[in-house]
Symmetry: C2
Subunit: 425 residues, 2 copies
């Protein structure tokens, strides 16, 4: 399965996969909500009841991975523990509970010509998902794509191939049992990297590519894809503590945004503090960060207020640490804070702490990020917290989907027109 195949075979394999996905998508597009839900529940059951065979397949992957010397962090991600298997099933059942976006009609109005014009929400079609080692993405992504009426082509890490195929078998069984197209979810079983290359060059069969993984993967896919990509690049998130901040809220949010979890994209990486409150705020926060083991890197003004701080380099301001490191800059006012965010931020999530409504209003309007917050921790930028249900990712793009992408982001809208024999004059 994992040997390199001649290129024309890969091409033929991927073309076949694409063609089947396109056919399946046509049927999925108008599948009843009840049927889709029933299939999702059946996938969850098959995953739970198939725990043993999933674990067996996963052990083959783990053995291969150990043999090739995969590092421990990746081995951990690769492992399907019984907790993770249960979580996959639970995730699918949660998707069942989400409202079906497909077919919803909005803004239907009569026009002066007499025709009625509205918009109907419809599936995107075929979604290609390229991800790395976690096999649970196979179930999550498939569930979201199916509920939104799409077909999915899934290309996980080659080190997870046996686990992914085993999960795909649970999915295919459930689809067939519910008279849905078997090929609505297909896993690319060719390990060769060129298979991804082919996937990115099949606009006739694939409508959108969603990469999930590290920056290297995302950049490669964006560069190579001839198909639109919904991507999450990175999160250099800021909290700006305004001079009109409530100090207790400022401390609570700034501490939470950095320390609640270090490795997530919505973690604060740079703290901006208005000069008038810098002494007071940093006097409280610096020892708290020190206790939590957070390394502080600051601008020269920060060093006036904090002793345990090393100088931040120009590079620090645009770095996503994903680690217990924080850069701090003391700024003169709101304008300087917004300028800093525009210059160094990644348009992911940025927050202001202030009691002043005019300042809050300006921050909300002028900061051009996928999530802009007032008096709340950047850690809230998440599909579940926003009420979208499960998310397939967080988009740092501006077009189509911005911020957490849930079911709605996997659909689009078409215009519908109803007349009574109307013709254009």
């Amino acid at each position: 399965m994992s040997q390199v195949q001649p290129e024309h075979n890969i091409n033929a394999y991927m073309q076949g996969l694409g063609r089947r996905a396109r056919e399946a998508a046509r049927r999925m597009a108008h599948a009843d909500t009840g049927v889709k839900n029933s299939a999702l529940l059946a996938i969850a059951d098959h995953i739970e009841h198939g725990r043993e065979s999933l674990t067996r397949a996963n052990h083959r992957d783990l053995e291969n991975a150990r043999r090739t010397g995969l590092e421990d962090a990746l081995l951990d991600r690769l492992e399907l523990t019984s907790g993770r298997i249960a979580a996959m099933a639970e995730g699918l059942r949660q998707i069942v509970a989400l409202p079906d976006p497909v077919g919803s009609v909005s803004d239907m109005n009569y026009r002066p010509s007499g025709i009625q014009v509205g918009r109907m929400r419809v599936p995107l079609g075929v979604i290609g998902i390229v991800y790395e080692s976690r096999p649970n993405v196979t179930a999550d992504a498939a569930g979201l794509c199916l509920k939104a009426g799409n077909a999915a082509v899934l290309r996980g890490g080659s080190e997870a191939i046996h686990s992914n195929v085993a999960i795909a078998q649970c999915i295919a069984r459930a689809l067939v049992e519910n008279a849905l197209p078997e090929h609505a979810v297909q896993v690319v079983e060719i390990a060769d990297r060129e298979a991804v290359g082919e996937l990115l060059r099949m606009p006739e069969y694939v409508d959108v590519i969603i990469p999930r993984g590290g920056k290297g993967l995302i950049e490669r896919i964006t560069r190579e894809s001839t198909i639109p990509v919904i991507k999450h690049l990175h999160g250099v998130c800021h909290v700006y503590i305004d001079e009109h901040a409530d100090i207790d809220k400022a401390v609570a949010v700034a501490y939470n945004a950095k320390t609640q979890r270090y490795g997530t994209c919505n973690t604060m990486e740079t703290l901006l503090v208005a000069e008038p409150v810098a002494q007071q705020v940093l006097g409280i926060l610096a020892p708290m960060y020190a206790d939590a083991g957070v390394e502080l890197r600051g601008c020269p003004r920060t060093a006036n207020f904090v002793s345990e701080v090393s100088p931040a380099s120009e590079e620090d301001w645009s770095t996503e640490y994903l680690a217990p490191i924080l850069s701090i800059r003391v700024v003169s006012d709101l304008n300087a804070a917004i300028d800093h965010i525009h210059r160094y931020g990644s348009q992911h999530t940025d927050a202001i702490i202030t009691e002043n409504i005019t300042t809050a209003r300006r921050f909300l309007a002028e900061v051009d990020s996928s999530s802009v917050m007032v008096n709340a921790s950047t850690r809230f930028a998440d599909g579940f917290e926003y009420g979208l249900g499960a998310e397939i990712g967080i988009s740092t793009d501006k077009l189509h989907a911005r911020g957490p992408v849930g079911l709605e982001g996997l659909t689009t809208q078409k215009f519908i027109v109803v007349g009574d024999g109307h013709i254009r004059k």
Copy 2:
């Protein structure tokens, strides 16, 4: 102006343009609606009052174009008659009347955590528009981009360069008079094709590319652009006359959809007729088309009902004629009609004529085109007819904008979150 420049100069020129556009976009993003409207009215005035200098600049373009032997159809498009100048001004005044989409907040709700989450509509940022000979696009596109709070980089045909620069001067004057950034609208003054190449490779400065022109231009830009493209490829539009059609409506719509205008993308190119009504419908329609000078190309079954029909080739079914030519296929039923549309259509606009609600419901749900219609002419697929106001184009893409793209399509939504010191548990 039109001589080939060394490549590094083009690069530096375009980078400077991009940088200025990005700066201007930041200021445009939160410009007041009143100020934007006042600038649009001023542009309209300057265009009207500057009629003489616009005409002079246009004459230089026309002379050059005649000298290089530009064909008559293109010369006609290039010409700025006084009617067209008045129409540009009128178009801008109509944009003033449209509601400003920027800043509108929707779906603002409390979440169980206590934070409020909603979406705010915001400009896309910098929009690059690449178009061909019509100089009036310069005013139309600039007006729409400005009203939606964006900056625009406009690259018209090199043959229209003097006209475009003259229009851009009217725009710049109006912007400055209204304290808006002068560089919110910039015209690329380098004729070299490489300038477009540079524009398509500046994702740091340009957020979206909108090409307007022939299929060759669109395909080239889609292939080369590293920036998302909102494009209109082509329209192979269908009308399907169902066996339950009201014959009068069927005849009126099928005639209108073909003959009201031949050169537009929403003109019907293929007529599908259900076998049970083929004799009756084609018996009325064929002579009407013949009178209008429409050439008919049909499937073998069509020839059973129509004498003046030549055989349609496989290629005919996917051809956008933009001319008085119509392909006709007699199909057995709704399924065959939908299959045909999926196979040969371009997902632009497709209509069914039927009195049966179940058939209509299926057609609306299953045909995956940007506009799907019941008992109405495909010619209605248009921003004005849909109530969007002026359109910057019709998108045949699925992501972001589908169908006619008006002001809303030039914006996106960000999440906004308001809390009271909320932290993630």
